[in-house]
Symmetry: C2
Subunit: 311 residues, 2 copies
């Protein structure tokens, strides 16, 4: 076990909502002064406040967002400018798209365990609404904006920690979830009005099929290697990928009531979905200190992450 604990958390979700078939999505309205950075800053500040820490207590800032704010510099440096200017705290992005938070938690737990850092601030923020394609109903109705942040620290209680982490990437699905344009693949200067290359493109059915073929096998391997079963786990925090969440959980043998499903209230907030659902679970009394929590999700790539955590 890697001895870390979550010592602070916070999120920020824009007030503005839109509704599709009774499902609510929070989205920054056009022309608002809110943006990906302002949401990241609010979530980070709330996490620090919740941890009763100042920024000077943090020794690394990690952005775990899927889509960045600028191609250069990295998103963590831009967050640093808003909350840590004048310090020399290192800033870095770790990115596996939707599961970036889980990957970063997994990775940083090794650095904390080894004593490299004592307290790491991880921030995910997404303004998905800026990249949605109105012609793709499924994704257009699914995504929401928001930010979530967590402070992880070296734990001393011998209870809290990362028990087991695992990541797989199956690039058969590399083009099932994409925004192709905006960086070097399709340069912004080549944008022409109406070009769909610069918008979110999701092939929901293809993803579901690939997930069905790959994730159950990985889950079996995860359970075997970690030595824990679904029965041992108190709460499962899945990526809030889509309305098919219940179907996927059923397919993995995870009973209703054991996992957090807030898709109807928030939709898929990309990399924010998992940390937000984790915090939502804590704040709503679903996750208590000492609980065995399984973070689990798929991401564009296709990547899947599973991480067992003693909260």
């Amino acid at each position: 076990m890697r001895n870390i604990e979550i010592t602070g958390y916070g999120y920020y979700i824009p007030e503005n909502t839109v509704e599709f078939r009774g499902q609510v999505r929070h989205r920054i309205p056009q022309g608002s002064s809110e943006n990906q950075l302002s949401m990241a800053v609010k979530a980070a500040q709330r996490a620090l406040e919740n941890a009763s820490l100042s920024i000077n207590d943090i020794d690394c800032i990690v952005s775990t967002s899927a889509v960045g704010i600028q191609p250069i510099p990295c998103t963590a440096a831009l967050i640093h400018e808003q909350i840590a200017k004048g310090t020399s705290i290192p800033a870095m992005d770790i990115n596996t798209t939707c599961t970036s938070f889980v990957s970063a938690l997994d990775v940083m737990s090794y650095l904390i365990e080894a004593g490299r850092y004592n307290r790491v601030l991880m921030v995910a923020s997404e303004m998905a609404s800026g990249g949605l394609n109105p012609n793709q109903k499924e994704s257009y109705e699914l995504f929401g904006d928001g930010a979530a942040a967590v402070v992880i620290s070296k734990s001393s209680d011998g209870v809290s920690g990362v028990i087991y982490g695992m990541q797989n990437t199956w690039s058969e699905g590399a083009h099932d979830t994409e925004i192709r344009g905006g960086l070097t693949g399709y340069l912004p200067k080549n944008y022409v009005e109406g070009s769909e290359e610069y918008y979110f493109d999701m092939k929901g059915l293809r993803i579901l099929k690939l997930v069905g073929r790959k994730v159950p096998k990985m889950f079996d391997e995860f359970k075997e290697k970690s030595g824990y079963s679904v029965t041992d786990v108190d709460v499962i925090v899945p990526h809030q990928a889509s309305k098919a969440l219940g179907m996927i959980m059923h397919h993995l043998g995870i009973p209703e009531g054991k996992y957090i499903n807030i898709v109807p209230q928030y939709g898929n907030m990309v990399s924010v979905a998992i940390p937000h659902a984790l915090i939502w679970g804590i704040e709503n009394g679903k996750i208590r200190k000492g609980d065995l929590v399984l973070l689990l999700g798929t991401a564009a790539g296709l990547t899947a992450n599973m991480l067992l955590l003693r909260y």
Copy 2:
């Protein structure tokens, strides 16, 4: 020390060159079929070949590029598709802009030391030429395209390893090196002909001043904490940031002949510059097995990384 070793390396630099005042830059010509991904793939394949490994021997693929290929999925997943399709090798991006390779080497050395992964393929690739602004002479004449890849493995000789790593970020410099447009800060759909927001923007003099104020102090701290002096180090591999490299090295008390300077031949290849200079040093007999090597560089952010490695 974290017991890792470099067991394979390779790079790919486009043949096409341009010259500015006697300095050579390699750049993919317009209309070429080469791109950031094809360069990454060639470098990765050469690193695997050099290591006498197949992709199945690798247990993690890390993209250490500054600028990505697509906003979604992460760059490592797109590289995975070309070289590791059909496998389940995890793919992840680690980004601190120009020093991403050093950050990723630093981070992944903890995971290798802890036994999480045994062999990690790290790939940096940059097509800087696509984002240069002809109105900014300094950066327009400085940057080059290319890719470099390295395989790092758990070492068993008790000699090779990462001795000490350090990163600082000073966000006073967050806007001294930027590409502002292409992601959520300035969405591609808002691009208008002639808008400079979507191009590389570098304030060279401001960076130099900030580097001069921050990096020597950090270097003193690094030497003190690592317990090594410049005299102990065999070769210094700095980021090939600019023609001012010699001046900065002098300022840090690093004598000529002790550091690799290939700015006249290659310019600044963003995140590729450090791994390429490291490989260039090995291939040209400047770096020999057992040498104490210091990787050192600054990145947009402003971030600085220092990492002491027994090769």
